[in-house]
């Protein structure tokens, strides 16, 4: 009994409520004639789409930099990589990997500068990261208009320059991961094997990394910077590494998202992508100074499950579309809950 109580306290009421709400939605689904197999397929797909961006939160949380509200930098690097891969007419798997390869240098450089900045402002990372992210998105809005891209599928037809707000990746690398070894059962259920394998690979690499020498040093910096410094760990270097990894994962994450979603969304599109990633890892049980692979897995499934199931089920139940409002309240409520929670010093 006591075990259960501490478990609930550890896990937090909001998460439990969300969990049971999701279960309720799945139980209700057949009664309102929402196909369960299609829903599960949808949840899996969206899990794969978003998981790597959620994974990107882990290194920075572990190294004590807090929630990466500046993930937009990584996302924009990914967008640069994706648009460049289209510009160079890279198709198929080559295009997808090419996009990642092309995004990498941007992610590394931006991440490095971003890290330099955040190392100067320890303790204020989250607010500053948010505004650095926003202003960089706005800067890139100008850049998308004036950069000399000329692939006709990407630029505005009448002007011949300036990128479109949404660019289709059809004919390049649409669903390249989703369709890899995909298992189709019946009319509605598709198991996106390739996508989940790719996500699994990254999660595994992250898991390995966190157990490596650098990874443990990074965690040490996060849990007690003074102690880490005393034992000879270069705090700033560890933070820099974590921020660069996070930015790079943001870039990979958005490219994975795009290949499944089918479109590259430019201009202000990256800014609403950051908060769901933050919310997801928090729903998974992470706090602002501790996160694990389990948090990523559970959080993404719960959050994306909620986003998939509420529109279909709640709409059929109540005859109105409340999903948007539920999404706003759940995701921001979750972040708020994490921010106001008293941080446990020792574990």
């Amino acid at each position: 009994m006591r075990n259960l109580k501490t478990f609930i306290e550890d896990f937090g009421w909001p998460r439990i409520i969300i969990f049971f709400f999701l279960i309720f939605l799945f139980i209700m689904a057949p009664f309102v004639r929402v196909r369960l197999d299609a829903s599960i397929s949808d949840v899996l797909n969206r899990f794969g789409q978003n998981a790597i961006m959620v994974l990107a939160m882990v290194p920075m949380i572990q190294s004590g930099c807090g929630l990466n509200f500046g993930l937009a930098l990584g996302i924009v690097s990914g967008l640069l990589g994706a648009t460049l891969s289209l510009q160079f007419q890279l198709h198929g798997i080559l295009g997808f990997l090419g996009a990642i390869a092309l995004a990498a240098p941007f992610a590394l450089v931006l991440g490095w500068f971003y890290a330099k900045l955040l190392n100067k402002v320890k303790g204020e990372e989250m607010t500053i990261a948010m505004y650095v992210g926003f202003s960089f998105i706005m800067f890139m809005c100008i850049m998308w208009l004036i950069l000399p891209y000329n692939n006709p599928t990407m630029v505005w037809g009448y002007a011949g320059k300036g990128l479109r707000t949404t660019i289709t990746v059809e004919g390049y690398w649409l669903k390249i991961l989703n369709n890899f070894l995909a298992i189709r059962i019946g009319q509605f259920f598709v198991f996106p094997t390739g996508l989940l394998l790719f996500v699994g690979l990254f999660a595994f690499l992250m898991w390995l990394f966190l157990r490596s020498k650098t990874g443990t040093a990074m965690t040490a910096v996060g849990s007690n910077p003074d102690f880490a410094r005393a034992s000879g760990v270069d705090v700033d270097k560890m933070r820099t590494i974590s921020i660069i990894i996070s930015t790079f994962l943001g870039a990979v994450g958005i490219i994975v998202y795009e290949q499944s979603f089918g479109f590259i969304q430019l201009y202000t599109a990256p800014s609403p992508m950051v908060f769901p990633a933050v919310a997801a890892i928090l729903i998974g049980g992470a706090s602002i100074n501790k996160a694990s692979m389990v948090n990523v897995l559970v959080g993404t499934i719960l959050f994306q499950g909620l986003l998939t199931m509420t529109p279909s089920v709640i709409n059929s139940l109540l005859q109105t579309d409340m999903s948007e409002v539920i999404r706003i309240i759940v995701s921001n409520g979750m972040i708020l809950y994490a921010l106001t929670r008293k941080i446990k010093v020792s574990k």
Binding site: F134, T268, S271, P272, F275, T320, I328
Partner: protein
């Protein structure tokens, strides 16, 4: 001692609350806007006839001219108002005060009735009533009322976080 300060504090708070509510009521009473329709038409039964030409002003608003068959509107705020009619034929000026009920949005003043002394010359004017009348005289409901049943389309709401 302690008890008296407590009751006094309670009384003051209660008083403030009452004043607050009264202020809100006052704002509704003085601030509600009404539309006044000014009408210059013959009666259906010929008991009075339209004025041949006149100038009507509500309160201190700019006056406007009316000829038979005209109808115009004025916006007023609050409940007590004055109407001033100047008839061109005999250059006679009539001034009357009238009250607008608080919750009626549109009132209609028939100036010929006012001149002829027919009461009531001011009446509430509800479009809803007219619409209802029109519907009642229309075709039976069974044939036409299928379309509007069912959930309305939800509107677009900006996605969160609504950053620019």
């Amino acid at each position: 001692m302690n008890g008296t300060t407590k009751t006094r504090r309670l009384a003051i708070r209660g008083g403030l609350l009452v004043i607050y509510v009264l202020l809100m009521v006052l704002m509704i009473m003085t601030g509600r806007r009404h539309t006044i329709l000014i009408d210059n038409k013959d009666a259906a039964d010929g008991s009075y006839s339209a004025i041949n030409g006149m100038e009507v002003a509500i309160d201190r608003q700019e006056s406007s001219e009316y000829y038979p068959g005209d109808r115009d509107k004025a916006m007023v705020q609050g409940q007590t108002h004055k109407i001033k009619v100047t008839i061109f034929d005999d250059n006679k000026t009539i001034e009357k005060e009238f009250k607008v009920p608080l919750w009626s949005d549109v009132m209609i003043i028939s100036v010929p009735k006012l001149i002829a002394g027919v009461e009531p010359w001011i009446e509430p004017f509800t479009m809803a009533e007219q619409i209802q009348e029109a519907q009642e005289s229309g075709p039976p409901a069974g044939e036409t009322s299928f379309q509007s049943i069912g959930p309305a389309q939800p509107m677009e709401v900006e996605q969160v976080p609504p950053t620019p």
